[in-house]
């Protein structure tokens, strides 16, 4: 795994994932299929040689997702007409953040902190100690004064809950709170038909 790719995913894909899932819901038959497509998009990103050429991360991700869905439709041969129609609408309009925004977003992991904030109390304390502050299992046991089994359990639980929150909500609210133009990301119905 290339570190720059991992970093790019952290910065651009994770906060956008929930939004992408919402878009995919309209073209996928089931929640399981949305999961499949999203994992395949991650796989496509993993295959990239570099990420320096990606000017508009969100548009790139939507385009990649669209290709994955198209491939699946071809492969499966049976596709609902509605899904086909919706696929045409799968695009990001004006999703490109301004360059300064890219710089800000790079630094800005507030969306991730705000998700961590919502973990249950003990889970949050353990999870932060282990995964954010990089304390060892032993140090966490000593400083929080809880049994080792609880540290293991809460670390795993925190990771699972965080993963679910990223899928369900991501960092989109955080994006939406800043510039108005970012709020236009999404599937848009054309009025001229």
């Amino acid at each position: 795994m290339k570190p720059e790719v991992v970093d790019w995913v952290t910065t651009h894909f994770l906060p956008f994932e929930a939004r992408l899932r919402l878009m995919l819901k309209r073209v996928c038959a089931s929640a399981a299929e949305v999961d499949d497509v999203v994992q395949e998009v991650y796989y496509k990103v993993l295959q990239l040689d570099g990420v320096g050429h990606i000017q508009e991360p969100h548009a790139f991700l939507v385009r990649t997702a669209k290709n994955v869905v198209t491939d699946r439709m071809r492969r499966d041969a049976i596709v609902s007409i509605e899904a086909m129609a919706n696929l045409e609408e799968l695009h990001v309009e004006d999703a490109a953040p301004s360059p300064e925004r890219i710089a800000l977003v790079r630094e800005d992991l507030r969306w991730l902190s705000s998700l961590i904030e919502r973990l249950p109390e003990r889970c949050k304390a353990v999870f932060q100690a282990r995964r954010v502050y990089g304390m060892s299992q032993h140090e966490t046991v000593a400083s929080l004064n809880i049994p080792e089994s609880a540290v293991e359990y809460e670390t795993m639980r925190g990771s699972r809950l965080l993963s679910e929150m990223i899928a369900a909500e991501g960092g989109f609210e955080e994006y939406g709170a800043a510039p108005a133009r970012a709020a236009r990301i999404g599937v848009k119905k054309h009025a001229n038909d």
Binding site: M1, K2, P3, E4, V5, V6, D7, V9, T10, F13, L14, E17, D35, D36, V38, Q39, E40, V41, Y42, Y43, K44, V45, L46, E107, L109, L112, S113, I116, E117, E121, K124, A125, Q128, A129, R131, V132, Y133, G134, M135, S136, Q137, E139, T140, A142, S143, L144, T155, M156, S159, R160, L162, S163, I166, A167
Partner: protein, 357 residues
């Protein structure tokens, strides 16, 4: 049955926590090869952990989760993060007073280190005339071995935090407070006294302060000065300009009579001084630089066997005494082999070597 994302998370946590056994590594490889969705989910889980590390790295100074956690967590976290440092790393030997007087424990915890500022103030409040206790008032020498960090109260109530592998001499007179940095790096919290300037000498480089906090690091050529508070004047005794640098700025002086290069990057200054907390913080540093940083603190050196890896960049935060953790993470992120022996840590496979057998 766990979902793909849950399995991926479990694998990533396991491989970041420690080195996988040969069997585990085979299982992981098999799992990843079984399905491209597994590979995608593995990237996703890795990126989440990377984000958490970056989050941790974003607050290098005191590791305080600012304005954040609710009760309980707020109470325990800063202390916990402070206590996370392995204790033996910090040894405290105050300059003048005998150990029994002010430093009952030779080895103090990180917490104790954190409260040393208070200790120095306490000494002052008690009215202990520190120089009287030393043979030659105002003269002393300090050394730190590799991996050792020391925080020493100076006779004038200034405080020096001395980084790994350093040597420093105190030459206080009635007019000036001179400190000669022969080797290594130190950060000074200078007690205000306009009548007696505080001057650090690093080779031909000089840094002068009246009341401020700054660090000087002696390099093979010249020195680097980082200012965290107030203003410091820097120059080379060989001539050239005198420059005033202020909080959040850093200056590099080659020692020759040429222009001083000053840059203003408060976050970078804070990052470079994370050693005071016993931490190394990386924000897009190359593997080459990160390894050089770790090797300052340890006799057990990290070696990069494959030069192609040297320019890879990293974000993260580690205790200075945890090169193995760092090496594990690098190996996991890059998917390169890792070999840890008694005296060194080798990351990556050497190129051009004959295959075994």
């Amino acid at each position: 049955m766990p979902t793909i994302d849950e399995s991926a998370t479990a694998w990533v946590l396991r491989s970041l926590g420690r080195e996988l056994s040969a069997q585990e590594q085979r299982d992981l490889d098999a799992w990843r090869q079984a399905d491209i969705r597994h590979q995608g989910a593995y990237l996703r889980a890795t990126a989440i952990q990377h984000g958490l590390r970056r989050l941790g790295a974003g607050q290098p100074a005191a590791l305080r989760p600012e304005g954040a956690p609710a009760r309980g967590a707020r109470q325990t976290m800063p202390v916990a993060a402070v206590a996370a440092q392995p204790a033996p790393l910090v040894e405290v030997t105050p300059v003048a007073p005998q150990p029994g007087q002010v430093a009952p424990a030779r080895r103090l915890s990180r917490r104790a280190w954190a409260s040393l500022g208070g200790l120095a103030a306490g000494i002052a409040a008690l009215g202990l005339a520190l120089p009287m206790l030393t043979a030659t008032p105002g003269h002393a020498e300090f050394r730190t071995v590799q991996g050792e960090l020391r925080k020493v109260p100076l006779p004038d109530q200034s405080i020096a935090s001395i980084n790994s592998g350093s040597r420093m001499e105190l030459k206080y007179t009635d007019d000036t407070r001179a400190v000669v940095l022969d080797q290594g790096e130190a950060w000074f919290e200078v007690a205000r006294n306009k009548a007696r300037p505080f001057i650090v000498e690093a080779g031909d480089v000089r840094a002068r302060a009246v009341g401020t906090a700054f660090s000087v690091r002696r390099l093979s050529r010249g020195a680097e000065v980082l200012v965290t508070e107030g203003t410091v004047e820097v120059w080379s005794v060989r001539g050239g300009e005198h420059r005033r640098i202020s909080a959040g700025e850093s200056a590099y002086l080659s020692g020759a009579a040429e222009a001083v290069s000053v840059s203003r990057q408060p976050r970078e200054v804070a990052r470079k001084l994370a050693w005071r907390e016993g931490k190394l913080v990386f924000v897009d540093q190359t593997l080459r630089d990160a390894v050089a940083d770790f090797n300052r603190y340890s006799v057990k050196k990290i070696v990069i066997a494959d030069p192609a890896l040297l320019e890879r960049k990293f974000v993260g935060q580690y205790p200075v005494a945890a090169p193995e953790d760092f090496a594990h993470d690098v190996s996991a992120y890059l998917g390169v082999p890792l070999q840890i022996s008694a005296d060194r840590i080798v990351i990556g496979a050497a190129r051009g070597r004959q295959p075994a057998g």
